[in-house]
Protein backbone atom coordinates (compact mmCIF):
# COMPACT_ATOMS: atom_id res chain seq x y z
CA UNK A 1 0.00 0.00 0.00
CA UNK A 2 1.26 3.48 -0.87
CA UNK A 3 0.92 6.23 1.71
CA UNK A 4 -1.16 9.32 1.06
CA UNK A 5 2.01 11.32 0.50
CA UNK A 6 3.24 8.82 -2.06
CA UNK A 7 -0.10 8.86 -3.82
CA UNK A 8 -0.12 12.63 -3.93
CA UNK A 9 3.39 12.84 -5.35
CA UNK A 10 2.60 10.17 -7.93
CA UNK A 11 -0.48 12.05 -9.02
CA UNK A 12 1.48 15.32 -9.35
CA UNK A 13 4.15 13.60 -11.44
CA UNK A 14 1.49 11.88 -13.54
CA UNK A 15 -0.27 15.17 -14.19
CA UNK A 16 2.95 16.85 -15.34
CA UNK A 17 3.89 13.85 -17.52
CA UNK A 18 0.34 13.61 -18.90
CA UNK A 19 0.06 9.98 -17.73
CA UNK A 20 -2.38 8.03 -15.58
CA UNK A 21 -1.16 7.65 -11.96
CA UNK A 22 -1.22 3.84 -12.26
CA UNK A 23 1.26 4.08 -15.13
CA UNK A 24 3.85 5.88 -12.99
CA UNK A 25 6.19 3.37 -11.35
CA UNK A 26 8.78 4.14 -8.62
CA UNK A 27 11.60 2.80 -10.77
CA UNK A 28 10.89 5.18 -13.66
CA UNK A 29 13.28 8.02 -14.54
CA UNK A 30 12.22 11.48 -15.69
CA UNK A 31 13.34 10.60 -19.21
CA UNK A 32 11.11 7.54 -19.18
CA UNK A 33 8.25 9.75 -18.02
CA UNK A 34 8.92 12.15 -20.89
CA UNK A 35 9.29 15.15 -18.56
CA UNK A 36 11.26 18.05 -20.05
CA UNK A 37 13.01 20.79 -18.10
CA UNK A 38 9.93 23.01 -17.88
CA UNK A 39 7.81 20.04 -16.80
CA UNK A 40 10.36 19.31 -14.07
CA UNK A 41 10.31 22.83 -12.59
CA UNK A 42 6.52 22.85 -12.75
CA UNK A 43 6.45 19.47 -10.95
CA UNK A 44 8.75 20.80 -8.22
CA UNK A 45 6.55 23.89 -7.86
CA UNK A 46 3.45 21.71 -7.51
CA UNK A 47 5.16 19.58 -4.87
CA UNK A 48 6.23 22.69 -2.92
CA UNK A 49 2.68 24.03 -3.03
CA UNK A 50 1.07 20.70 -2.07
CA UNK A 51 3.29 20.01 0.95
CA UNK A 52 4.31 23.54 1.91
CA UNK A 53 7.98 22.71 1.65
CA UNK A 54 10.93 24.29 -0.10
CA UNK A 55 12.72 21.96 -2.50
CA UNK A 56 16.48 22.58 -2.91
CA UNK A 57 16.90 22.23 -6.66
CA UNK A 58 18.94 24.18 -9.18
CA UNK A 59 18.15 23.48 -12.82
CA UNK A 60 21.72 24.44 -13.77
CA UNK A 61 23.19 21.47 -11.91
CA UNK A 62 20.45 18.92 -11.30
CA UNK A 63 22.96 16.15 -10.51
CA UNK A 64 24.60 18.26 -7.79
CA UNK A 65 21.31 19.30 -6.20
CA UNK A 66 20.50 18.01 -2.74
CA UNK A 67 17.16 16.87 -4.13
CA UNK A 68 17.47 13.42 -5.76
CA UNK A 69 15.48 13.25 -8.99
CA UNK A 70 17.07 10.11 -10.39
CA UNK A 71 13.78 8.20 -10.26
CA UNK A 72 10.17 8.55 -9.11
CA UNK A 73 11.04 6.54 -5.99
CA UNK A 74 13.98 8.83 -5.24
CA UNK A 75 11.76 11.91 -5.58
CA UNK A 76 9.18 10.38 -3.21
CA UNK A 77 11.90 9.61 -0.66
CA UNK A 78 13.37 13.09 -0.91
CA UNK A 79 9.98 14.74 -0.48
CA UNK A 80 9.13 12.55 2.50
CA UNK A 81 12.39 13.58 4.19
CA UNK A 82 11.66 17.27 3.45
CA UNK A 83 8.20 16.92 4.96
CA UNK A 84 9.79 15.50 8.10
CA UNK A 85 11.96 18.60 8.20
CA UNK A 86 15.18 16.74 7.62
CA UNK A 87 17.93 17.85 5.28
CA UNK A 88 18.28 15.16 2.60
CA UNK A 89 22.05 14.77 2.93
CA UNK A 90 21.82 14.14 6.68
CA UNK A 91 19.47 11.25 6.12
CA UNK A 92 21.45 9.87 3.19
Amino acid sequence: MRSDVQQQIISIIAREAVLEPEDVQPSMTLDELGLDSLGLVEMIFAIEEAFDISVPFNANEPAQSEFDISSVGAIIGAVERLICGQRPEIVA
Binding site: L38, V41, E42, I44, F45, E48, E49
Partner: protein, 403 residues
Protein backbone atom coordinates in the same frame (compact mmCIF):
# COMPACT_ATOMS: atom_id res chain seq x y z
CA UNK B 1 14.12 47.98 -53.68
CA UNK B 2 11.34 45.45 -53.43
CA UNK B 3 7.66 46.26 -53.04
CA UNK B 4 5.96 44.98 -49.89
CA UNK B 5 2.35 43.86 -49.55
CA UNK B 6 -0.06 42.61 -46.90
CA UNK B 7 -1.55 39.19 -47.67
CA UNK B 8 -3.12 38.27 -44.33
CA UNK B 9 -4.67 39.98 -41.31
CA UNK B 10 -5.96 38.86 -37.93
CA UNK B 11 -7.26 40.53 -34.81
CA UNK B 12 -8.81 40.11 -31.40
CA UNK B 13 -10.18 43.27 -29.80
CA UNK B 14 -13.15 44.63 -27.88
CA UNK B 15 -15.22 44.86 -31.06
CA UNK B 16 -14.77 41.29 -32.29
CA UNK B 17 -12.50 38.27 -32.35
CA UNK B 18 -11.76 38.43 -36.09
CA UNK B 19 -11.21 40.90 -38.95
CA UNK B 20 -14.57 40.72 -40.81
CA UNK B 21 -16.63 41.37 -37.67
CA UNK B 22 -14.24 44.10 -36.54
CA UNK B 23 -14.60 45.87 -39.90
CA UNK B 24 -18.38 45.55 -39.69
CA UNK B 25 -18.34 47.20 -36.25
CA UNK B 26 -15.98 49.94 -37.48
CA UNK B 27 -18.18 50.59 -40.50
CA UNK B 28 -21.30 50.81 -38.38
CA UNK B 29 -19.63 52.98 -35.76
CA UNK B 30 -20.32 50.65 -32.88
CA UNK B 31 -18.26 51.01 -29.73
CA UNK B 32 -16.67 48.36 -27.52
CA UNK B 33 -16.09 50.53 -24.45
CA UNK B 34 -17.98 49.72 -21.27
CA UNK B 35 -17.74 48.98 -17.57
CA UNK B 36 -14.74 46.73 -16.92
CA UNK B 37 -15.14 43.28 -15.44
CA UNK B 38 -11.99 42.68 -13.36
CA UNK B 39 -11.15 41.93 -9.69
CA UNK B 40 -11.03 44.94 -7.31
CA UNK B 41 -12.81 47.22 -9.79
CA UNK B 42 -14.37 49.08 -6.86
CA UNK B 43 -10.89 50.33 -5.88
CA UNK B 44 -10.29 51.90 -9.30
CA UNK B 45 -11.27 55.47 -10.08
CA UNK B 46 -11.42 54.77 -13.80
CA UNK B 47 -13.76 51.85 -14.30
CA UNK B 48 -14.34 51.82 -18.07
CA UNK B 49 -12.33 50.22 -20.82
CA UNK B 50 -12.52 48.35 -24.10
CA UNK B 51 -12.21 44.81 -22.81
CA UNK B 52 -12.17 41.75 -25.06
CA UNK B 53 -15.50 40.05 -24.40
CA UNK B 54 -16.32 36.35 -23.99
CA UNK B 55 -12.68 35.33 -24.17
CA UNK B 56 -12.47 31.58 -23.53
CA UNK B 57 -8.82 30.43 -23.54
CA UNK B 58 -9.72 26.84 -22.63
CA UNK B 59 -11.65 26.50 -25.87
CA UNK B 60 -8.68 27.63 -27.96
CA UNK B 61 -5.51 26.32 -26.34
CA UNK B 62 -4.18 23.11 -24.79
CA UNK B 63 -3.34 22.95 -21.08
CA UNK B 64 0.37 22.96 -21.92
CA UNK B 65 -0.02 26.06 -24.10
CA UNK B 66 -2.07 27.89 -21.49
CA UNK B 67 0.63 27.20 -18.90
CA UNK B 68 2.95 29.36 -21.02
CA UNK B 69 0.61 31.86 -22.69
CA UNK B 70 -0.13 35.14 -20.93
CA UNK B 71 -3.29 36.83 -22.23
CA UNK B 72 -1.24 39.04 -24.58
CA UNK B 73 0.30 35.91 -26.13
CA UNK B 74 -3.15 34.34 -26.46
CA UNK B 75 -4.44 37.37 -28.37
CA UNK B 76 -1.35 37.33 -30.61
CA UNK B 77 -1.61 33.61 -31.36
CA UNK B 78 -5.27 33.76 -32.34
CA UNK B 79 -4.63 36.82 -34.52
CA UNK B 80 -1.60 35.14 -36.07
CA UNK B 81 -3.60 32.03 -36.95
CA UNK B 82 -6.18 34.20 -38.73
CA UNK B 83 -3.51 36.12 -40.64
CA UNK B 84 -1.57 33.04 -41.72
CA UNK B 85 -4.80 31.33 -42.72
CA UNK B 86 -5.91 34.26 -44.87
CA UNK B 87 -2.48 34.31 -46.51
CA UNK B 88 -2.83 30.60 -47.29
CA UNK B 89 0.12 29.78 -45.05
CA UNK B 90 -1.53 27.64 -42.33
CA UNK B 91 1.15 24.99 -42.72
CA UNK B 92 4.09 27.40 -42.60
CA UNK B 93 5.87 30.09 -44.58
CA UNK B 94 6.36 30.18 -48.31
CA UNK B 95 9.90 29.30 -49.34
CA UNK B 96 12.94 29.41 -47.03
CA UNK B 97 11.80 29.57 -43.35
CA UNK B 98 15.06 31.26 -42.36
CA UNK B 99 13.92 34.22 -44.49
CA UNK B 100 10.69 34.64 -42.51
CA UNK B 101 10.42 36.16 -39.04
CA UNK B 102 8.19 37.86 -36.49
CA UNK B 103 8.16 41.37 -35.01
CA UNK B 104 5.53 42.10 -32.38
CA UNK B 105 4.91 45.36 -30.58
CA UNK B 106 3.86 45.39 -26.96
CA UNK B 107 4.23 47.88 -24.14
CA UNK B 108 3.25 45.80 -21.14
CA UNK B 109 4.15 42.31 -22.36
CA UNK B 110 2.79 39.73 -19.94
CA UNK B 111 1.32 42.37 -17.66
CA UNK B 112 -1.42 40.01 -16.44
CA UNK B 113 1.25 37.56 -15.34
CA UNK B 114 3.15 40.33 -13.53
CA UNK B 115 -0.05 41.46 -11.83
CA UNK B 116 -0.90 37.91 -10.73
CA UNK B 117 2.62 37.21 -9.46
CA UNK B 118 2.77 40.48 -7.51
CA UNK B 119 -0.63 39.75 -6.01
CA UNK B 120 0.65 36.34 -4.90
CA UNK B 121 3.77 37.62 -3.15
CA UNK B 122 2.61 41.04 -1.91
CA UNK B 123 -1.09 40.66 -1.22
CA UNK B 124 -1.39 36.98 -0.41
CA UNK B 125 2.00 36.87 1.35
CA UNK B 126 3.15 33.72 -0.39
CA UNK B 127 6.82 33.13 -1.00
CA UNK B 128 6.78 31.49 -4.40
CA UNK B 129 5.26 32.16 -7.78
CA UNK B 130 4.62 29.83 -10.69
CA UNK B 131 7.88 28.69 -12.33
CA UNK B 132 6.77 29.90 -15.76
CA UNK B 133 6.30 33.48 -14.57
CA UNK B 134 9.34 34.75 -16.50
CA UNK B 135 8.70 32.98 -19.83
CA UNK B 136 5.09 34.18 -19.65
CA UNK B 137 5.77 37.83 -18.80
CA UNK B 138 8.70 38.55 -21.12
CA UNK B 139 7.85 41.00 -23.90
CA UNK B 140 9.12 38.67 -26.60
CA UNK B 141 6.93 35.74 -25.50
CA UNK B 142 4.25 36.34 -28.14
CA UNK B 143 6.79 36.72 -30.97
CA UNK B 144 8.63 33.61 -29.81
CA UNK B 145 5.54 31.42 -29.64
CA UNK B 146 4.49 32.63 -33.08
CA UNK B 147 7.89 31.77 -34.52
CA UNK B 148 7.66 28.32 -32.93
CA UNK B 149 4.15 27.64 -34.22
CA UNK B 150 5.08 28.22 -37.87
CA UNK B 151 8.81 27.50 -37.78
CA UNK B 152 9.80 31.06 -38.71
CA UNK B 153 13.58 31.05 -38.23
CA UNK B 154 14.64 34.51 -39.38
CA UNK B 155 14.63 37.78 -37.37
CA UNK B 156 12.25 37.50 -34.42
CA UNK B 157 11.90 40.10 -31.69
CA UNK B 158 9.57 42.42 -29.81
CA UNK B 159 9.38 46.19 -29.95
CA UNK B 160 8.37 48.29 -26.96
CA UNK B 161 7.74 51.93 -27.83
CA UNK B 162 4.56 52.40 -25.79
CA UNK B 163 1.69 53.47 -28.07
CA UNK B 164 3.84 53.32 -31.22
CA UNK B 165 5.01 49.73 -30.69
CA UNK B 166 2.87 48.09 -33.38
CA UNK B 167 3.66 50.74 -36.00
CA UNK B 168 7.35 50.33 -35.28
CA UNK B 169 6.98 46.55 -35.57
CA UNK B 170 5.14 46.71 -38.89
CA UNK B 171 7.46 49.43 -40.21
CA UNK B 172 10.59 47.45 -39.37
CA UNK B 173 9.15 44.32 -40.99
CA UNK B 174 8.37 46.41 -44.09
CA UNK B 175 11.93 47.75 -44.23
CA UNK B 176 13.45 44.29 -43.83
CA UNK B 177 11.40 42.85 -46.70
CA UNK B 178 11.94 45.91 -48.89
CA UNK B 179 15.70 45.74 -48.44
CA UNK B 180 15.82 42.05 -49.32
CA UNK B 181 16.90 40.95 -45.85
CA UNK B 182 13.88 38.64 -45.53
CA UNK B 183 11.02 37.46 -47.78
CA UNK B 184 8.11 37.55 -45.35
CA UNK B 185 7.22 38.58 -41.81
CA UNK B 186 4.44 38.30 -39.30
CA UNK B 187 4.13 41.73 -37.71
CA UNK B 188 1.76 43.61 -35.46
CA UNK B 189 1.14 44.19 -31.79
CA UNK B 190 -0.52 42.69 -28.76
CA UNK B 191 -1.51 44.15 -25.39
CA UNK B 192 -3.43 43.20 -22.28
CA UNK B 193 -3.06 45.59 -19.37
CA UNK B 194 -6.67 45.77 -18.21
CA UNK B 195 -5.94 44.45 -14.73
CA UNK B 196 -5.92 46.15 -11.34
CA UNK B 197 -2.18 46.87 -11.21
CA UNK B 198 -1.96 47.94 -14.83
CA UNK B 199 -4.87 50.35 -14.56
CA UNK B 200 -3.70 51.74 -11.19
CA UNK B 201 -0.46 52.75 -12.86
CA UNK B 202 -2.32 54.51 -15.67
CA UNK B 203 -4.71 56.19 -13.24
CA UNK B 204 -1.77 57.93 -11.61
CA UNK B 205 -0.97 59.85 -14.75
CA UNK B 206 -4.48 61.39 -14.83
CA UNK B 207 -4.88 61.18 -18.58
CA UNK B 208 -7.70 58.62 -18.56
CA UNK B 209 -11.34 59.49 -19.00
CA UNK B 210 -13.96 58.23 -16.56
CA UNK B 211 -16.74 58.97 -19.01
CA UNK B 212 -15.75 57.85 -22.53
CA UNK B 213 -13.44 58.35 -25.48
CA UNK B 214 -14.32 61.41 -27.61
CA UNK B 215 -11.43 62.14 -29.99
CA UNK B 216 -11.30 65.64 -31.58
CA UNK B 217 -14.52 66.62 -29.80
CA UNK B 218 -14.32 69.82 -27.77
CA UNK B 219 -15.70 67.97 -24.74
CA UNK B 220 -13.03 65.22 -24.80
CA UNK B 221 -11.55 64.42 -21.42
CA UNK B 222 -8.98 61.70 -21.92
CA UNK B 223 -8.14 58.29 -23.25
CA UNK B 224 -9.87 54.99 -22.60
CA UNK B 225 -7.71 51.93 -22.53
CA UNK B 226 -8.42 48.84 -24.61
CA UNK B 227 -6.74 45.49 -25.20
CA UNK B 228 -6.25 43.06 -28.03
CA UNK B 229 -3.95 42.24 -30.91
CA UNK B 230 -3.53 42.80 -34.61
CA UNK B 231 -1.22 40.69 -36.77
CA UNK B 232 -0.38 40.97 -40.47
CA UNK B 233 1.44 38.81 -42.98
CA UNK B 234 3.82 41.03 -44.94
CA UNK B 235 5.74 39.67 -47.89
CA UNK B 236 7.41 40.81 -51.06
CA UNK B 237 5.07 41.74 -53.89
CA UNK B 238 6.86 39.37 -56.26
CA UNK B 239 6.51 36.41 -53.92
CA UNK B 240 2.83 37.16 -53.25
CA UNK B 241 2.13 37.33 -56.99
CA UNK B 242 4.17 34.20 -57.72
CA UNK B 243 2.19 32.12 -55.26
CA UNK B 244 -1.14 33.67 -56.21
CA UNK B 245 -1.87 35.20 -52.80
CA UNK B 246 -4.64 37.75 -52.45
CA UNK B 247 -3.12 41.17 -51.77
CA UNK B 248 -4.95 43.33 -49.22
CA UNK B 249 -2.82 46.47 -49.61
CA UNK B 250 0.70 47.65 -50.31
CA UNK B 251 2.85 49.02 -47.50
CA UNK B 252 4.55 51.80 -49.36
CA UNK B 253 6.33 53.90 -46.77
CA UNK B 254 7.37 54.25 -43.16
CA UNK B 255 8.98 56.92 -41.05
CA UNK B 256 10.04 56.87 -37.44
CA UNK B 257 11.51 59.65 -35.36
CA UNK B 258 11.96 60.95 -31.87
CA UNK B 259 10.79 64.31 -30.51
CA UNK B 260 13.84 64.29 -28.23
CA UNK B 261 11.84 66.73 -26.15
CA UNK B 262 9.52 65.52 -23.37
CA UNK B 263 8.72 62.17 -21.80
CA UNK B 264 4.94 62.59 -22.07
CA UNK B 265 4.01 65.76 -23.97
CA UNK B 266 3.77 65.34 -27.75
CA UNK B 267 5.45 67.77 -30.15
CA UNK B 268 3.74 69.04 -33.30
CA UNK B 269 7.14 69.41 -34.98
CA UNK B 270 8.03 65.77 -34.32
CA UNK B 271 4.65 64.55 -35.56
CA UNK B 272 4.87 66.71 -38.71
CA UNK B 273 8.42 65.57 -39.46
CA UNK B 274 7.32 61.94 -39.22
CA UNK B 275 4.19 62.34 -41.37
CA UNK B 276 6.26 64.16 -43.99
CA UNK B 277 8.90 61.44 -43.81
CA UNK B 278 6.36 58.68 -44.41
CA UNK B 279 4.99 60.52 -47.47
CA UNK B 280 8.49 60.99 -48.88
CA UNK B 281 9.41 57.36 -48.21
CA UNK B 282 6.27 56.26 -50.07
CA UNK B 283 6.83 58.84 -52.84
CA UNK B 284 3.34 60.19 -52.15
CA UNK B 285 2.02 63.70 -52.49
CA UNK B 286 -0.22 64.87 -49.66
CA UNK B 287 -3.15 65.39 -52.04
CA UNK B 288 -3.08 61.69 -52.96
CA UNK B 289 -3.83 60.68 -49.37
CA UNK B 290 -7.56 60.15 -48.85
CA UNK B 291 -7.51 58.84 -45.31
CA UNK B 292 -5.42 59.20 -42.16
CA UNK B 293 -6.06 56.90 -39.24
CA UNK B 294 -5.24 59.30 -36.43
CA UNK B 295 -3.39 58.53 -33.27
CA UNK B 296 -6.38 60.42 -31.85
CA UNK B 297 -6.19 59.45 -28.20
CA UNK B 298 -8.82 61.98 -27.06
CA UNK B 299 -6.39 63.63 -24.69
CA UNK B 300 -6.41 67.41 -24.82
CA UNK B 301 -2.77 67.50 -25.91
CA UNK B 302 -2.59 64.78 -28.55
CA UNK B 303 -5.56 65.70 -30.68
CA UNK B 304 -4.74 69.36 -31.19
CA UNK B 305 -1.04 68.58 -31.69
CA UNK B 306 -1.87 65.95 -34.29
CA UNK B 307 -4.21 68.27 -36.20
CA UNK B 308 -1.61 71.03 -36.16
CA UNK B 309 0.97 68.62 -37.58
CA UNK B 310 -1.39 67.51 -40.38
CA UNK B 311 -2.11 71.14 -41.31
CA UNK B 312 1.61 71.85 -41.40
CA UNK B 313 2.40 68.96 -43.75
CA UNK B 314 -0.76 68.90 -45.87
CA UNK B 315 -1.35 72.61 -46.29
CA UNK B 316 -4.32 73.11 -48.63
CA UNK B 317 -4.60 69.33 -49.10
CA UNK B 318 -5.79 69.10 -45.48
CA UNK B 319 -9.19 70.26 -46.71
CA UNK B 320 -9.71 67.01 -48.57
CA UNK B 321 -8.27 64.39 -46.27
CA UNK B 322 -10.48 62.36 -43.95
CA UNK B 323 -9.06 61.85 -40.46
CA UNK B 324 -10.64 59.49 -37.96
CA UNK B 325 -9.75 57.99 -34.63
CA UNK B 326 -11.12 54.48 -34.27
CA UNK B 327 -9.93 54.46 -30.62
CA UNK B 328 -13.40 55.75 -29.72
CA UNK B 329 -14.60 52.25 -30.67
CA UNK B 330 -11.81 49.77 -29.78
CA UNK B 331 -10.12 51.87 -27.10
CA UNK B 332 -6.46 52.72 -26.92
CA UNK B 333 -4.84 49.32 -27.23
CA UNK B 334 -1.38 50.76 -26.42
CA UNK B 335 1.28 48.48 -27.94
CA UNK B 336 -1.30 46.80 -30.20
CA UNK B 337 -3.18 49.88 -31.23
CA UNK B 338 -1.40 50.66 -34.51
CA UNK B 339 -1.99 47.12 -35.74
CA UNK B 340 -5.71 47.19 -34.98
CA UNK B 341 -5.98 50.66 -36.52
CA UNK B 342 -4.22 49.54 -39.70
CA UNK B 343 -7.34 47.45 -40.36
CA UNK B 344 -9.28 50.70 -40.79
CA UNK B 345 -6.74 51.81 -43.41
CA UNK B 346 -7.06 48.50 -45.26
CA UNK B 347 -10.87 48.91 -45.19
CA UNK B 348 -10.61 52.44 -46.60
CA UNK B 349 -8.32 51.29 -49.42
CA UNK B 350 -10.18 48.09 -50.33
CA UNK B 351 -13.80 49.00 -49.64
CA UNK B 352 -13.79 52.79 -49.90
CA UNK B 353 -15.31 52.98 -46.43
CA UNK B 354 -13.80 55.38 -43.89
CA UNK B 355 -14.46 54.38 -40.30
CA UNK B 356 -15.97 57.19 -38.23
CA UNK B 357 -14.82 58.97 -35.09
CA UNK B 358 -17.74 58.11 -32.82
CA UNK B 359 -18.87 59.98 -29.68
CA UNK B 360 -18.19 63.28 -31.46
CA UNK B 361 -20.30 65.98 -29.85
CA UNK B 362 -18.74 69.45 -30.24
CA UNK B 363 -16.43 70.92 -32.88
CA UNK B 364 -13.06 72.03 -31.55
CA UNK B 365 -11.45 74.95 -33.47
CA UNK B 366 -8.08 73.37 -32.72
CA UNK B 367 -9.15 70.18 -34.52
CA UNK B 368 -10.67 71.70 -37.66
CA UNK B 369 -10.34 68.81 -40.09
CA UNK B 370 -12.84 66.34 -41.54
CA UNK B 371 -12.78 64.01 -38.54
CA UNK B 372 -15.53 61.78 -39.98
CA UNK B 373 -17.90 62.49 -37.09
CA UNK B 374 -20.07 59.61 -35.93
CA UNK B 375 -20.92 58.09 -39.33
CA UNK B 376 -18.70 56.30 -41.82
CA UNK B 377 -18.00 58.08 -45.11
CA UNK B 378 -17.75 56.39 -48.47
CA UNK B 379 -15.23 57.49 -51.06
CA UNK B 380 -12.47 55.86 -53.10
CA UNK B 381 -9.12 55.99 -51.30
CA UNK B 382 -5.87 55.22 -53.10
CA UNK B 383 -3.43 56.02 -50.29
CA UNK B 384 -3.70 56.14 -46.52
CA UNK B 385 -1.55 56.95 -43.50
CA UNK B 386 -1.62 55.50 -39.99
CA UNK B 387 -0.22 57.70 -37.24
CA UNK B 388 1.26 56.67 -33.90
CA UNK B 389 2.79 59.18 -31.49
CA UNK B 390 3.83 57.57 -28.22
CA UNK B 391 4.86 58.65 -24.76
CA UNK B 392 8.56 59.23 -24.82
CA UNK B 393 8.24 61.19 -28.07
CA UNK B 394 8.39 58.07 -30.24
CA UNK B 395 6.73 58.75 -33.59
CA UNK B 396 5.94 56.08 -36.20
CA UNK B 397 3.84 56.65 -39.33
CA UNK B 398 2.96 54.01 -41.94
CA UNK B 399 1.88 54.74 -45.52
CA UNK B 400 -0.31 52.32 -47.48
CA UNK B 401 -1.46 52.21 -51.09
CA UNK B 402 -4.37 50.48 -52.75
CA UNK B 403 -3.32 47.68 -55.06
Amino acid sequence: MRRVVITGAGTVNALAHNVPDTLMMLREGRGGIGLLSIPDLDRLQVQIGAQVKDWDPLAQFSRAELGLYDVFTQFAMVSGVQAMSQAGLEAGPAGDPTRWGVIMGTAGGGNTTVNDAFRTVFSEGKNRVHPFTVPKLMNNAAASHMSMKWGLQGPCFSVATACSSANHAIGLAFQMIRSGMVDGMLAGGSESMLNFGGLKAWEGLRVMSKTGCRPFSKDRDGMVQGEGAGVFVLESYDQACARGAEILAEVSGFCMSSDANDIVMPSPEGAARTIRGALEDARLNAHEVGYINAHGTATAANDKTECEAIHTVFGAAAENVALSSTKAMHGHCIGATGAIELLACVMALRDGVIAPTINYAQPDPECDLNVVPNCAQERPVTAALSNAFAFGGMNAVLALRRI
